[in-house]
């Protein structure tokens, strides 16, 4: 038996409720679940408000650096640095090279 378009359509839709009551009940179920919907401008308003709140939270967050008076300088480190600068090692090397 060679199927035609009608056979195929029938096969695909077999099981469709034939009772009008089914369709009325389905429609009633759908209608009872229609909730209030937001207007598009209200949706965009909510998105903008959320973005502003996020930006404010990022900008106004407390800094991770410690606040208050700075700690005293490390005098030992400063002295070592001055010593290295005064050594002027490159100049000494040039003198040694010239004496050869």
């Amino acid at each position: 038996m060679e199927p035609d378009d009608k056979d195929i359509r029938e096969a695909l839709t077999a099981g469709m409720p034939a009772d009008d009551a089914f369709w009325a009940a389905q429609r009633a179920r759908i209608m009872s679940r229609l909730g209030p919907r937001r207007a598009p401008w209200r949706r965009w308003g909510a998105v903008t408000a959320a973005a502003c709140a996020f930006a404010a939270a990022v900008l106004l967050r407390p800094s991770r650096l410690p606040r208050g008076p700075l700690p005293p300088p490390n005098m030992e480190l400063i002295q070592n640095l001055e010593l290295v600068e005064n050594l002027d090692l490159l100049e000494d090397l040039d003198v040694l090279e010239g004496a050869r």
Partner: protein, 190 residues
């Protein structure tokens, strides 16, 4: 008339939306039944599609027909349903989600043949078409169901599927080839 209902529903007229539901609910159910092969799933997804349409209606620009837009929503839902984990079937009311002969036998014969032999032939053909459908890829099945159940033009099938017309033609060609091959093979096996 439909355009007026759509416009009224967009501005919140529930009665107008109810008329749109009445106009499209059978076609949408038939499409979802073809896609899911389960009446309970078709019913759930059809309701879900209408509720999504209601919420999204203010943003509907009318660039396509309302039916096309509604079927796009339904197709997306059907695709998600198809991708759901199999274990969910257990909680959603049974494991009859494969298009097997058992599933078909549970359905009433909607035909009107007085001849029992002819009715049996047609029933057998239905069973084979149903099983053949399971052998199609998901995109082939979508195109096949939209074309044969809804009798949509290629351009509308393409719009619903979000595919090029050439792609839809290719899906339909392969679907028909596979279906014909399967029917011929099973015809000899009876």
């Amino acid at each position: 008339m439909e355009r007026e209902w759509v416009r009224a529903a967009q501005s919140g007229d529930e009665a107008a939306f109810g008329r749109l539901v009445g106009l499209h609910q059978k076609a949408l159910f038939a499409f979802l039944l073809g896609m899911t092969r389960r009446t309970d799933a078709a019913d759930d997804l059809a309701q879900e599609a209408f509720l999504k349409a209601w919420k999204a209606l203010p943003g509907f620009k009318g660039e396509s027909a309302f039916r096309t837009w509604l079927f796009q929503i339904a197709l997306n839902l059907a695709r998600s349903w198809g991708r759901r984990p199999k274990w969910l079937t257990f909680f959603s009311g049974g494991g009859e989600d494969t298009p097997s002969g058992d599933w078909l036998e549970a359905r009433p014969d909607t035909g009107s043949d007085a001849d029992p032999g002819r009715a049996a032939d047609r029933d057998d053909l239905r069973r084979r078409i149903d099983a053949g459908l399971a052998r199609l890829s998901s995109r082939e099945r979508e195109a096949f169901v939209l074309k044969y159940v809804e009798d949509m033009k290629i351009s509308e099938v393409a719009a619903v599927m979000g595919a090029a017309e050439g792609t839809v033609k290719s899906h339909l060609f392969h679907a028909a080839q596979k279906m014909r091959a399967y029917l011929e093979r099973t015809d000899g096996a009876r």
